[in-house]
Symmetry: C5
Subunit: 299 residues, 5 copies
Amino acid sequence: MIVRPRLHWLRMLFVWRGSVVPRILWRLGFFLALSCLVVAMGPPSFRLEPGPLGLVGVALAIFLGFRNSTAYDRFWEGRKLWGSLVIVSRSFTRQALTLPTPALTRDERRGVCDRLSALALTLNHQLRQTQADVTTLSSGVREHVLRAEHRPARVLMGLAEWLSEQRRQGRLSDLLVTSLDENLNRLSEVLGGCERIAATPIPYVYSVMLHRTVYLYSLLLPFALAGGLGWATPLVSVFISYTFIALDTVTAELEDPFGTEPNDLPLDALTRHVERAVLELAGEPLPPALQPDERFVLT
Amino acid sequence: MIVRPRLHWLRMLFVWRGSVVPRILWRLGFFLALSCLVVAMGPPSFRLEPGPLGLVGVALAIFLGFRNSTAYDRFWEGRKLWGSLVIVSRSFTRQALTLPTPALTRDERRGVCDRLSALALTLNHQLRQTQADVTTLSSGVREHVLRAEHRPARVLMGLAEWLSEQRRQGRLSDLLVTSLDENLNRLSEVLGGCERIAATPIPYVYSVMLHRTVYLYSLLLPFALAGGLGWATPLVSVFISYTFIALDTVTAELEDPFGTEPNDLPLDALTRHVERAVLELAGEPLPPALQPDERFVLT
Amino acid sequence: MIVRPRLHWLRMLFVWRGSVVPRILWRLGFFLALSCLVVAMGPPSFRLEPGPLGLVGVALAIFLGFRNSTAYDRFWEGRKLWGSLVIVSRSFTRQALTLPTPALTRDERRGVCDRLSALALTLNHQLRQTQADVTTLSSGVREHVLRAEHRPARVLMGLAEWLSEQRRQGRLSDLLVTSLDENLNRLSEVLGGCERIAATPIPYVYSVMLHRTVYLYSLLLPFALAGGLGWATPLVSVFISYTFIALDTVTAELEDPFGTEPNDLPLDALTRHVERAVLELAGEPLPPALQPDERFVLT
Amino acid sequence: MIVRPRLHWLRMLFVWRGSVVPRILWRLGFFLALSCLVVAMGPPSFRLEPGPLGLVGVALAIFLGFRNSTAYDRFWEGRKLWGSLVIVSRSFTRQALTLPTPALTRDERRGVCDRLSALALTLNHQLRQTQADVTTLSSGVREHVLRAEHRPARVLMGLAEWLSEQRRQGRLSDLLVTSLDENLNRLSEVLGGCERIAATPIPYVYSVMLHRTVYLYSLLLPFALAGGLGWATPLVSVFISYTFIALDTVTAELEDPFGTEPNDLPLDALTRHVERAVLELAGEPLPPALQPDERFVLT
Amino acid sequence: MIVRPRLHWLRMLFVWRGSVVPRILWRLGFFLALSCLVVAMGPPSFRLEPGPLGLVGVALAIFLGFRNSTAYDRFWEGRKLWGSLVIVSRSFTRQALTLPTPALTRDERRGVCDRLSALALTLNHQLRQTQADVTTLSSGVREHVLRAEHRPARVLMGLAEWLSEQRRQGRLSDLLVTSLDENLNRLSEVLGGCERIAATPIPYVYSVMLHRTVYLYSLLLPFALAGGLGWATPLVSVFISYTFIALDTVTAELEDPFGTEPNDLPLDALTRHVERAVLELAGEPLPPALQPDERFVLT
C-alpha cells in the first residue's frame, strides 16, 4: 500500500511515485502516436463522430463503475477482516490475562501472544501463497502447524487446545470458556472471510468485457475526434484513454487485495501490528513497527 | 466458475475461453449483417439519429446497472453463505474436538466430520436439484436423510441429535451445549439463506424489460448510425450491441448462482473444501481438492 | 410472484404473461396516437428538440434509479424477513425437539409446530389486512389470538408461555430457556421488520415527483422528436415511454411487497413453506407445497 | 409523514395535498417569469447553449444523487431504530411477563409497560427538543427523569434498577437477568443511534454546494434554451427547475427525519404504537392509535 | 464540524462561513482569468468543442461519485463508531451501577466513569496524534497509560482489570462478568474500527487520478466553450470548475474524518459527550457541553 503524506494540491498534479502512470506509459504512448498519425493523415475515409461513441459511454460507465466499486469493496472487506483480527486478538489477550484463576505466569502469557502472532503470520503467508516458518511457537505446536495444509486453521485449533487445557486444569469455568470460545469463532470468521476473497475472484467475464471495451474505445477515439479537433486530438484522446486505462489497471490490483502490488493491503505491516498489539497488552517489549520504503510503499 | 490465471493485458483482449462471446456469436453476427445491409441500401426513408437514441440510454443504464448489481449481489451472497458453511463447520468441529469430557474417540470424531460433509453435500444437491447418495453417513442416519424432502435440514437435525446425545451422556454441560447449539443456529441460517436465493429470482418483469430494451435498441442502432458513419457503422454498432448483449447474458447466469453454467459458483469444489477443512482439523487423511478443467471451469 | 421458467432469449422478447405491458397498454396507445398526430400535423409552431429534453434525463435518472433500488430493497428485505421466519422456526423446532428432558411427546411436538405455523399464518394476514382463522391452535390459545389486535405478537407470546411452562416443569434449565428465548427475540425482529415495511411507505412525495416527471416527459417526447425523425417518431417515442412507464409501474408494485399484485411476495406459499419445514423436522405428514397458477403467479 | 392512500395513476398527476409544489410555488413562478422575459427580449447578446449546460449535469447528478440517497438513508435508519424500539419493547415485556418467579402482579406488569412507554415518549421529545411530562411513571421515578438532561437514558436506567430489584428479590436468576439486560443494551443502541442522526447532520458544505448549483443552473437554463425553443422555453425550463428544486427541498426535510415537517417520521404515532404494543401483551386496555389528519399527515 | 443553523433557501445561496469557497478562491480566480484571456484572444488555432469534453464526463462521474461516497462512508462510519462508544459506555455504566453486590460506593462509581471518560479522551488524542494527560485517572493507572504506545487499548485493559477485581472480590458472578466483558469486546471493536479508518486511507492512486482529471478538465474547459459561448464562457466555465474543485476539496477533508479541518468529526465535543453521558447516569455533576465557535465550527 502506498502511504504517501498528503501533498499540496498543486504538487499532487505532478506526482510520479505512487501514480499509476509509469506502469501504463507505453500504452498511453501508443495511443498518442496513433492520434498523431490519424490527424496527420488528413480526413480519413473511415468516418467517426463523437456522438455515436458517446453511446458506448453508458456501457463503459456501468462496467467501470461496477468493477471499481466491487474491487474496492473487496479491498476494504479484506482490510476490515484484518482489522477484526487485530480487535479479536486484543480481546482474546485481554480475556486470557484477566480471567483465569490463578492468573497466567509470564511464560504462559507469552505463549498466548505467540499463538496469536502465529495466526496472523500464517494467514498472511496462506493468502500470499508463500512459505514461512513460525519460529515463535513451541516445537510441538510448530511441527503440527508446518505439516498442515491450511496452517492458520491449525494455529486456531492450537488456541482451542490451550483453552481446553485451561478448563481441564480448572483455571476457567465452563462459562468463561464459552466467552473465550466465542472469540475463537470470530477468529474463524476472519480466516474464512479472507479465504473467500482470495479464492473467489470477480467473475472473469467482467474483466474481459471491461478490458475489451476500454481498449477498443481508446482505439476508436482518435478517429472520432480528429475531424472536429484537429491537433487538439492527441491531447484530448490520450487524456480520456488515460482515465479509463488507469482505472482498469488500478481495479485489477485492488480486486485481489492480498497480493504484493503497490496498491494492495500491507499484510506484513498488519501482521507486525497484531504482534505488537498483543505484546503491549501483555507488557512485553515490542518489535518496531514496519515503515514504508522510499517509494512510500508499505508491504 | 472460470478460474483462469491472470493474463498479460494484451493477451486478455483475445481471450476466447472464459469469454461470453462464443455464446452470443450468432446474435452478434445477425446485427453485423443487418448493419451492412442498412449501409448498403443507402439513405433510408426511415430516418433515425444518434441523439434520440441517446435518450433510451437513461433507461438502459438504470435497467442494466440495477440488474447487474442485483445479480452480482446474489452471486456474492451465495458465496458468502457457502463461506459461512466452511467457517461454522470448522468452528463446530473445533468445539466438538476440544470441549467434550471425556474427549471423542477417533470414530466419534470421524462421525462429526461425516455429518458436516453430508450437510454440504446435501445442500449442494438440494440447490442444484440433483439426487445424490450420502454414503459417508451411518446407515440409520442415512435412511432418514434420504427419505426427507429437505435433506440438509434433516442432516442438521442429525447434528442436533448427536449434540443432545452428548449432553445426555454428561459429556457436555448445558452451557457448552448452548455454545455448540448457537453454531447450529448459524448453519440453519446458511441453509435458509441459500434456499431464499434459489427460490426467489429477481422479479421476472425486470428480465423481460431489460431484454426487450437491449434487443430493440440493438435493432435500431444501425439505422441511427448509418447516416453519419457510413461503413464505420457495422463496427461501431456491433461493438455497442456486444457490450449490452454480453452483460445481459452474464447477469442472467449470475442471478442464479447455484446453477452449472460457466460463471456459477463451484459448489462441488466448495463441498469438497468443507470436507477437507473438517477432516484436516480431525487429523484424518484428506481427499484431493477439485481442480478446474482444461477450459478453466471449476464446477 | 411470477415464477415463469427460463425461456430462450428469442421467445423472451414476445412474452405476454408475466410482462407489465398488458397493464399499461392503454397509456402506450395514447402516446402512440399522440406521436402519429404530431408527425401528421407537420412542423409545429411549438418547437422542441431532443437536446433540452436530454437535460431532464439527469433528474429522471436520479428519480427512477432511486425509486427502483429503494422499492427493490423493500421487496428483498421483506423476503429476507420471511426467510428468517423459516430459519428461526426451524431452529426453534430443532431446539424444542432435542433439548427438553424428558423429551416432548408427539402431541407436544405437534403443539410447537402448530404455534409456529400459526405465527406465519397470522403474520401473513396481518400484512395483507385480511382475516383468517387459526384452526390449528388449541381452543384456549386460539381465542386469545382472535381477540388480539396484533395477532402474530399474541401467538409469539403463546410460544413464550409454552417455554415458561417447560421451565416451570423443570424440563428446561434456565440456561436452555435463554437459548430458546433468544430465538423468540429473533422472531420478534421478523414481526417488527415486516410491520415497519408495511407501515412506512417510501415518502409519498417521491412517487408524485417521479410520476409527474415520467408522464410530462412522455408527453413532450413526440414534439421533441418529430422534427428530426419524421415517421420514425411514433416507434422511438413509444419505446422510450414504455421503458419509463413500465419501470414506474413495477416499482409501485414492489415497494409494497406484501400485497397481492403479480410481482409481490408469495406470502401464502411462504406460510405453507414454514408449516412444511417445521412438520418435516417433527416427522409429521406434510401438506402439499403451493404451486403457481397457469399465469405463473404464486400467491 | 404523509400517508395518502394509493391513487389512480391519472389522479396522481394532479395531486396537490402531499405534493411539494405548494411550498416551492413562488420560486417556480420566478423562474417562469424569467423565462418569459428572456424569450420576449429576443436574441440576447448573452449567448448560451444546452450543450455546455449539459456538462453541469454530471456534477448535479452526483450532488443530487448523493444528497438524496444519504438523506433517505438517514430517514430509513431513523425508522429502523424506532422499529427496533417497538421490537425490543415487545421482547422485554414478553420476558418480564413470562420469566420471573413468582410471576409479576398486575400492578407490576403495568409498571414495566409504563416505563417502556415513557422511554418512547421521552425519546420522542428529546429528538424534537420539546418538553413533556411523563405522567405515567410513579412519582419517585418521574422526578428523577424530569431532572435529567438526557431523559430517555434516565428512563432506561430506571428499567435497569427495576431489573436489579427483581434479582435482589430472587425472582430472576443471574442468567435470566443477563438475558433481559441484553435487551437493555439493545435499547441503549436505539437511543444512541437516534442521538447520532439528530446530532450529526450531513456535512453543511454539501447542502450549500447543491443549493447553489441547483439555483444557478435554473437561472442559466432559460438563456440556454431560449435560442432553440422559443416560446416552448418557459414550459421546459420550469419543468426542469421543478425537478431539481423539488428534490432539493424534499431531501432537506428527510435528512432530519425527527422534525415535524410533512415528510418526517411520525414520532407521535410511533410512540403511541410502542405504548399499545406493550399494553396489548400485558392484556391491558389500549388507547386508540393515532390517525392522519385531513391533509393525510401523521405526526 | 460546521453546525450552522438551517437558513432560508435564499440566504443559503450567499453563505460565506461554512462554505468551501474561501479555501478555493485563488484557484477559481485563476480559471476565471484564463477564461477571460481565452475569449479575449479571439478564435484560437487550438480548437476544442464541448462534445468531446463530454466524453471525459463518464470517467469524471465515476471518479467523483466513487471518491465522494467512499469518503462520506468513512466519515459516517467514524461517526457510528463514536456513537457506539457513547452507547457502550452508557451500557457498561448501567451494568456497573446495577449488577455488583454489594453495590459500588460513590468513589467506585466515579472510578468507572473516569476510566470510560479516559477511554474516549485517549482515543481522541490517538486518532489526532496529539498528546494529552489523563488527569482523571488514579496515579497508578495513569502511569501505565502514559507509558503505553496505544493508550486507549491500555485504558480498556484497565477496565478489564477492574472487572477481574470485582470478580475476585465476589461482587460479580462469572455470569455477570461475561455480560460486562461482552461490552468490553464491543469497546475493543470501536477502538479497532477507528484505528482501521485512521491507518488505511483510500488508495492514494484514486486521489491522484481524480485530482489530475479535475484540473486538466478545468483547464480545457474555456477552450471548449469559448467558441460557442463568447463572453458567457467565464461564468459557465468557472461555475463548472467550482462544482468539481469544491467536491474534490470536500472529499479530501471527509476521507480522513478524525482530523481538525472544518468538516471533520467534532471529537472534542464527542469526548465531552461520553464524559457527560456516564456522569449523568452516576448522578454526578456535569461539565458543560462544548459549543460551536463563532464560525459555527465544533471541534
